[in-house]
Symmetry: C2
Subunit: 252 residues, 2 copies
């Protein structure tokens, strides 16, 4: 089995190394990850700049490369160039340092790397370790290995990926696994305005999470209650019901 591994924290992140080593036990691992931090990259791809590739040492049985692009670039490049003769059986993105829950999947480079795998016709999983520094990735890495077994056996629906969030707990403290929906997550965003030593103003995006009521099966609630959350995330953009409404508008 061949696994293509990517992330959005960059090739130097600990989470991808832990996962690469864990997965090397069950298959041949190819790592193509951004050459630097690309969190919140969304599903950007690089059209107007060329991409540079650099080999990295991840230990035996692992082919590892840093690419000067986004997470989606890395998976596209991995599938269509680096592994064009040895198509991967699976794309895995992560383990991300921090959660990718609720509407944040929209902005998530971790999720977008997995989605690019699915666009390329390959079953794909995104994995995130919730909590904050210092992260312990071992539990999430082991769960990912178990999930991969089920994915290979059962498959994933078209245009769909599995989004895994592991709670900030030791494996023995974890309450179990919950299959979840994508919860509601909104921020009270504002911008911190500052002035640099040369008198030029600049802005930092800031603002806390809003406290929102969650559905009983929401991913956010599952992690909060100590469960591993597994959400089927699809990208079916057409709002079928609204098509009928729009047909009644005066646009002609």
């Amino acid at each position: 089995m061949r696994i293509l591994l990517s992330n959005d924290d960059g090739i130097g992140a600990e989470g991808i190394r832990v996962l690469a080593r864990e997965l090397a036990a069950i298959g041949e691992v190819y790592v193509v990850a951004p050459d630097r931090q690309r969190s919140a990259a969304g599903h950007g791809i690089t059209l107007h700049k060329p991409l540079f590739l650099e080999e990295h040492d991840f230990g035996p049985g692992i082919h590892a490369y840093g690419l000067s692009g986004t997470p989606a670039d890395c998976v596209k490049f991995g599938v269509t160039e680096l592994m064009k003769d040895v198509k991967p059986d699976l794309v895995v993105s992560g383990i991300n340092a921090g959660s990718n829950l609720g509407n944040d999947v929209m902005y998530s480079g971790t999720v977008s790397a997995a989605i690019e795998g699915s666009i390329q016709g390959i079953p794909a999983i995104a994995v995130s370790q919730c909590g904050s520094e210092p992260f312990d990735y071992q539990g999430a890495a082991e769960f990912t290995k178990r999930l991969i077994g089920e994915v290979l056996q059962n498959g994933i629906e078209p245009d769909t990926i599995l989004n895994v969030n592991y709670p900030p707990l030791l494996p023995r403290e974890v309450q179990g696994v919950r299959i979840t929906s994508i919860g509601k997550r909104r921020y009270e965003n504002h911008y911190d305005k500052r002035t640099n030593p040369r008198g030029v103003s600049y802005y930092w995006l800031a603002g806390p999470l809003k406290k929102l009521e969650q559905e009983p099966d929401a991913d956010i609630r599952a992690v909060r209650e100590g469960f591993i959350s597994v959400s089927p995330v699809h990208f079916d953009f057409t709002h079928r019901r609204m098509i009928d409404t729009l047909k009644t508008w005066s646009l002609h």
Copy 2:
């Protein structure tokens, strides 16, 4: 009425200027657009760098700014910082130079700027002019004005934007308006490998569109047949049906 306008081609693009002037006739226009070309930016936002803002002259009745961020950053900044005391009634993204059809909406900075408007709770439209250089934006700009009237009267469903693609035709050649679904679009991607004068290899993303059968109501087909395409695009990520399947997997 206050309209926040953005795009992904950058503040210097012709499409956003034509649209800003057209919309200034029906409301107060605020432009916040990337300070440079940000096509295919996806829904990236900028967390690890500060944002710089620069005022531009778009003529009377238009407040215009270039921001050193992505399209989604521009709309987030426009709504939560620049217009925090005068909330916009509408977010419009475009007019993009080139189509945003089918699955390309996933990568589209134009669409993502509109989606950020919707996330901020404001009705939002993405507008693209299909075809190639030289673009004529006037027909699309006039149609957008008409569509805005309907949007303000009828509203848009939550977590949904309208994605407009104007065919590469003169207004009198246009066949009409079609309410459409998001079609299938895939590329036969490959990477062109080159070597720079210093002997370093680099790669360019390349590859033509695959020829795919389209649904009768697909956006791609509508534009091909000379219609203006209006698609309701939503971002409801949970694959409800697959939740039941996943519950039968051995993950516990």
